[in-house]
């Protein structure tokens, strides 16, 4: 009996130490959405259960292996205990009750994370394609960055162009696959201003690892300013302006950088026009209108050194659109 008491105390001590120890490490990213709150609440209960059950099994096993180990010279078998039906029933029924309770809590927290707090929430359309995210705002412009005002519920209506992708901002917790042929919904209420990233969570091809895009949660005022800027850009009548709009809408900027620093999966466009581009076979080519046009319409023909040509699928544009895009690329220097 004394052993049972000692083990009982050790289990509790060990469980508490495990829980405290696990919680002393930053296990989760910051909570940046209202939906993260019920999810983290559920998670905390799970850590408690894990800590307790881990101790409940490991402590008696190690205690027994140390205390009751075979003493020198003892060759006899251990006590003949075949089982204990009340105990077996107890450790079947009690876990069953706990499991049902946890499932209920799981359903409850899921419900909380799906709660509609704004029936007129803004709808942003999301287009996922290999390997970029594009957003269409109700104000009539497209962007490769997702800007959201803090404490406003929004609905993302998401569609995939090619294969399955998954929309996940770790700081928001919630994840939703984006499936070709259907629209999936993602309802979120950002609650912490900051710059985050959406990270594609479903293997979607060679450059899946790099399918990330900025998600910026800002104050209503900053958001309004950004929207105004975007509307202005979208209404631009210059070739560069139209080109910029085209490359944004088509998701080009998800991979191609417009700063001197190239992204991990595609060459930068900064200073590209007129420069010498080294190809995989070692030869160089001048990035003129012909080269850029060919690289858009049939990217596999000329393989740029360091990048895989099969990553980018061929795009179709009219001649005027191509001229606008090239005008935009020309302006990047």
């Amino acid at each position: 009996m004394i052993h049972i008491v000692v083990v009982g105390i050790l289990v509790i001590v060990f469980a508490v130490l495990t829980y405290v120890g696990v919680n002393s490490v930053d296990l989760m990213p910051v909570q940046a959405s209202a939906q993260a709150v019920p999810i983290d609440w559920m998670w905390n209960w799970q850590v408690i259960a894990i800590s307790f059950l881990f101790a409940l099994i490991m402590v008696p096993i190690f205690y027994s292996m140390i205390v009751f180990r075979r003493k020198k010279g003892d060759t006899s078998d251990a006590e003949h205990i075949e089982g204990n039906t009340p105990l077996e029933i107890a450790w079947t029924v009690v876990p069953l009750i706990i499991v049902v309770a946890f499932a209920y809590m799981g359903a409850y927290s899921l419900g909380e994370s799906r709660r509609i707090t704004d029936t007129n929430a803004m709808v942003v359309k999301v287009k996922a394609q290999q390997f970029s995210w594009t957003y269409e705002y109700p104000q009539g412009f497209a962007s490769s960055e997702l800007h959201l005002p803090v404490w406003k519920q929004v609905i993302l209506k998401m569609e995939a162009v090619d294969v399955i992708h998954s929309f996940w901002v770790p700081e928001f917790r919630v994840k939703q696959d984006v499936v070709p042929g259907r629209v999936t919904e993602y309802r979120i209420t950002p609650m912490l201003e900051g710059a985050y990233k959406v990270r594609c969570a479903e293997l979607c091809g060679s450059n899946h690892a790099f399918m990330e895009g900025p998600v910026i949660v800002s104050s209503q005022a900053d958001y309004d300013t950004w929207v105004a800027e975007q509307i202005e850009i979208a209404s631009a009548a210059t070739p560069e302006g139209r080109g910029r709009k085209l490359v944004t809408e088509n998701g080009c900027l998800g991979c191609h950088s417009i700063t001197p620093q190239p992204g991990p999966s595609a060459p930068s466009w900064f200073g590209l026009f007129g420069s010498q581009v080294t190809l995989a076979d070692g030869s160089t080519v001048t990035a003129d209108e012909a080269f850029i046009t060919e690289s858009i319409l049939d990217p596999a023909v000329k393989e740029v050194e360091g990048y895989s040509p099969t990553v980018m699928k061929p795009f179709t544009f009219t001649t005027e659109e191509l001229a606008d895009i090239i005008a935009y690329i020309k302006s990047l220097k």
Binding site: A49, I50, S64, R70, E79, N84, T92, R173, A201
Partner: protein, 617 residues
């Protein structure tokens, strides 16, 4: 040359290559005659590769001779019931009908393929040690990662095939499996499949992970994708036939007096596993076959443009692939239940409950598949019911843990702890961690965060190591004397254990830690801003330490085969029938049949016996 060709394995592979070439030739010829394009990015079109692969599998089996007796029967010839194997190593390369030889064939193949799968992991683990792409291209990373997954799954299927084939007839007192020729067939069909699986690396690779979700797997212009599907389809046959054979053996061939609740507990686990393998494997074969046909014939099963549904694939796929994880772990848990009483010198606590919990897990396992799809976009109202059914698996699994704890409690375990027992306790420990990290994934709300992260990777490595790897090693150390008449080296065994276990904990806990913080699974590179690099570096070191420990195991295995301490008797002082006769086991198992006269695990009950051998033949 002639001598080499007379080895069935070599002959089979030669025939396989010939079959492949003939198959390719036929399709290329037909396509050319029809005026269709016959060449493709990988010399010829996918159609030719797939048909060639299919034909090559058949010609392997014919050339190897594993179907020889069936052909003879077809021609009306009579063959002897059982072929005698010639002594020596040659029997391991041919169509032996002895379940012990087949068991060893499975086990050794599993170990060899494990080296391949482990090497893949080490390569991409090294790539991940630092930010940015070092020496792999993302596509190569994806291929290695996918291959590691599917190759290790094949290892597990082969490993449990080895354990079940070797042990179950011995444990139930049968002279062989119920269908020895089918048994041999089920093993040898894996060999051509393994060739196709590995050849997919040379044919463009696979970039979809082992799950092969369409539309990605349907769109990827890589022949490797097809040989991968073909290989899994063929391995599925092995599982189905193996499961069928095992159930028939246990149902029909038990020793006198061995009632259901007097069977060794590993037999219960094998039955539960085989029930799943027999009835669910078809679904992965079907789902992969549908993608194959979508690619080959333009059928629109999963293509939304043609009215297909990509999510349907996931339902079909997981209807097998979730129960499959119970196929992977139940035999291992059976090994744990089998070995604990021997080393604790106590009866297995709550034998009937443990036996029923295996069946319980197997049955509930059929109702939980959609928990892999909480974020998939399937109908939302399906999520909560699947959460309930999934969490329900915790109940029978909990019964196992509590019963094991109670078995160990007050057990008299030797010090120092013998190597098989170390691995058994290690299995309990590791599987506990794997089990406890499961419910957060089963709970929809937390799974929305955890799904497809490195947390999941840590979780399932814990379940696979706890449910298969550790018990598999325990079984190898434990039954090695039975198979060879020699013991494995204890010191090397302990080095193996103490090197592998802590490294493994560091690896999986590290995976879970970065996973929670936003590390996705299946990514070739990670955002430097997230600060995962130091952890990844540690994970890589841990991975190499695990590889080192497995190397120690292989050295032990090979040296002990020749120089191990001779052990012909009941080395572990077990009550189990196979240890009551001299090792290694004779060709037809028990010289005298035995009768079950008591409970299997009555350790500590003076004068009790489990089996009694007949005095006369």
């Amino acid at each position: 040359m002639k001598k080499i060709y007379s080895i069935p394995l070599i002959r089979g592979i030669v025939w396989q290559v010939v079959g492949l070439l003939v198959g390719i030739g036929i399709v290329v010829g037909i396509r050319a005659a029809m005026g269709l394009q016959a060449t493709g990015p990988f010399l010829v079109t996918e159609h030719a590769w797939v048909f060639g692969g299919f034909l090559g599998t058949l010609t392997f089996l014919v050339g190897h001779g594993v179907m020889g007796d069936w052909f003879k029967w077809w021609r009306g010839e009579i063959t002897s019931d059982h072929h005698e194997d010639k002594p020596g190593w040659e029997k391991y390369f041919g169509p032996s009908l002895d379940h012990k030889v087949i068991g060893i064939q499975y086990t050794v193949t599993a170990l060899i393929v494990m080296i391949v799968g482990g090497t893949f992991a080490l390569i991409f683990r090294t790539e991940l040690a630092f930010e940015g792409m070092q020496f792999l291209k993302p596509a190569q990373y994806n291929t290695l990662m996918s291959m590691h997954g599917i190759v290790m799954i094949v290892v597990i299927l082969l490993g449990i095939g080895g354990m079940m084939n070797y042990l179950v007839p011995l444990l139930v007192g049968a002279h062989d499996m119920a269908f020895p020729r089918l048994n041999s067939f089920a093993f040898w069909i894996v060999v051509p499949a393994a060739v196709w699986l590995l050849s997919s690396m040379a044919l463009g690779g696979i970039e979809t992970g082992w799950t092969g979700y369409p539309p990605l797997s349907a769109n990827m212009n890589l022949v490797g994708q097809q040989t991968f599907f073909l290989a899994v389809f063929i391995v599925g046959w092995s599982s189905v036939l193996g499961g069928l054979n095992l159930i028939a053996t246990v149902v029909r061939m038990r020793a006198k007096g061995m009632t259901a609740f007097r069977m060794p507990i590993f037999v219960w686990a094998s039955i539960a596993t085989s029930l799943i393998a027999l009835t669910a494997t078809q679904l992965i074969g079907l789902s992969f076959q549908m993608v194959m046909f979508q690619r080959l014939f333009g059928m629109g099963f999963f293509d939304p443009v043609k009215g297909g549904n990509p999510v349907l694939f996931q339902h079909l796929f997981w209807f097998y692939s979730h129960p499959a994880v119970y196929v992977f772990i139940l035999p291992g848990l059976g090994i744990v239940s089998e070995l604990l009483p021997v080393f604790a010198r106590k009866p297995l606590f709550g034998y009937k409950w443990i036996a029923m919990s295996s069946l319980g897990i197997a049955l509930v396992g059929f109702l939980v598949w959609a928990h892999h799809m909480f974020t998939s976009g399937m109908n939302e109202y399906l999520r909560v019911p699947f959460m309930y059914s999934t969490l329900l698996v915790a109940v029978p699994t909990g019964v196992k843990f509590f019963s094991w704890t109670a078995t160990i409690w007050k057990g008299k375990i030797d010090t120092p702890v013998p190597t098989p027992m170390l691995f058994t306790v290690g299995a309990v420990f590791v599987f506990l961690l794997g089990g406890l990290t499961g419910p957060p994934n089963a709970t929809v709300s937390t799974d929305l965060h955890l799904h497809d992260t490195y947390w999941i990777v840590g979780h399932f490595h814990d379940t696979m190591f706890g449910g298969f790897m550790f018990p598999f090693f325990a079984a190898l150390y434990y039954w090695f004397p039975k198979a060879t008449g020699r013991r494995m080296n204890e010191t090397l065994g302990k080095i193996h254990f103490w090197l592998m276990t802590p490294s493994f904990f560091v690896m999986t806990l590290g995976m879970m830690y970065i996973g929670l913080n936003g590390m996705r699974r299946r990514i070739a590179d990670y955002d430097p801003a997230m600060g995962f690099q130091p952890t990844h570096f540690v994970l890589t070191i841990a991975g190499f330490l695990i590889a080192l420990s497995v190397l120690v195991f292989f050295i032990n295995l090979i040296t002990s085969l020749r120089n191990g301490e001779v052990a012909k008797g009941n080395v572990w002082n077990s009550r189990s029938p196979e240890w009551q006769v001299e090792s290694p086991m004779p060709a037809h198992n028990y010289e005298h049949p035995f009768e079950v006269v008591g409970e299997p695990y009555d350790y500590g009950l003076a004068g009790s016996k489990y089996v009694e051998f007949a005095k006369h033949k």
